[in-house]
Amino acid sequence: MCFGGGGDAAGAARAQQQAQQAQVDQGIGQINKAFAGFNPQFYAARGQAFLDYAQPQLQQQYQQNRNNLLYGLANRGLLKSTTAGMQQDTLKSAAEQAQQGLGNQALSLEQQLQQQVGQQQNTLVNQAIAGASPQSVATGALESASQFGAPSVLPPIGNLFSNWASIYNTNQNNQLINQVLGTLPNNGQLGGQNLGSSQRVVGG
């Protein structure tokens, strides 16, 4: 027609815009459906999986360190001494701290996964907005969801008693040094005098 032909094109543009909007809504609906399984229980299970993996290792490391401690004490004839009790308690404290550390690591893994899932969901929503078809968005969402749902590689827990072992070994070495120095004729007097005078100067 000569007059008024633009109306059809504008109507088509409006219809297209509304169809795209519906497509975006549909795509987001499919993404939400695919990610519906990522609830607090899912993330808690992730943390529990890490603990299930780490706890036997903690027990093993604890047992090893305890054995080393007891052998060392037995060698020096200190197995039934107060020192033995104190050292065992420090090991117990270290083990409990390690348990707490594992708990924190489990929590951190839960949070990391939650953030990754959130980011992935966000990426897919952005794709839906950018005009990807609902089908491709839904496929992407399902792929991502299955990726996150699958068991992942758990991080190594490392040596949980390294600090305790380091302190224990240092103490052992110091004791050994003291024993050796104790055999020298002038050791105790010289060391004691120097340290004593220094303390007095600082105190004054």
Binding site: F3, G4, L79, K80, G85, D89, Q100, G103, Q115
Partner: protein, 209 residues
């Protein structure tokens, strides 16, 4: 004196002018309507956006923050309890005394440490939850914003269409105006009418003398 043709020309030209004005008015009305409709749509999107923003804002109030921290503490305590679920096989089975601390002191110390740790962890948990909520809010605002932008993008086409909606009437009015003009000119200049007009002019001149 006006002849029939001159009158018809005048009427036709007037009708054409009327149609042109009506066409222009239709176009103007339609443009206004298109703009009003789009403004209403944009207001709807703005309302949606405001609602999403307000919800997000409500999650950042001191009360909501406290609730979020409490929730984070609970979550951390739950995980700590899971971590403590497998007991350490500590016992003095080989006769090693434990004089330094007894079990109840150790348990109390561990309990306090776990409690403090859970509180400390709650800040991190809250920050993560807040980041995820912000992500979701930005996502929702992004969807609304893109829809608003897409809707606004159609407006120029709709305005153009509205502008052309009166073109038919205006065109027809122009044709009628031209036709009326032609009829009027033809009526005024046709031979019979031209002579009689001249005669009347002579009479008037003679009368004047």
């Amino acid at each position: 004196m006006c002849t029939g043709l001159e009158v018809a020309g005048l009427v036709t030209a007037l009708a054409g002018t009327g149609l042109s004005i009506s066409g222009a008015q239709t176009a103007s009305n339609n443009m206004n309507n298109a703009l009003k409709t789009e403004l209403l749509r944009q207001q709807g999107y703005a309302k949606q956006g405001q609602s999403v923003f307000q919800q997000s804002l409500q999650q950042s109030t001191p009360q909501a923050t406290k609730a979020g921290l409490d929730q984070g503490t609970q979550q951390a305590q739950q995980v700590q309890a899971q971590a403590r679920a497998v007991p350490l096989s500590l016992s003095s089975t080989v006769g090693v005394p434990s004089n330094y601390t007894n079990d109840s002191t150790q348990q109390a110390r561990t309990g306090l440490s776990d409690q403090a740790n859970a509180k400390n962890q709650s800040y991190n948990a809250f920050a993560v939850q807040q980041a995820l909520r912000n992500l979701l809010t930005n996502q929702q605002l992004g969807v609304i914003g893109s829809q608003a932008q897409a809707s606004g993008g159609v407006l120029p086409y709709e305005l153009q269409a509205a502008q052309q909606s009166g073109a038919g009437q205006q065109g027809f009015g122009s044709i009628l105006q031209s036709l009326g003009g032609l009829l009027g000119t033809f009526g005024a200049t046709r031979p019979g009418n031209f002579l009689s007009n001249r005669a009347m002019g002579s009479l008037q001149i003679g009368g004047g003398l």
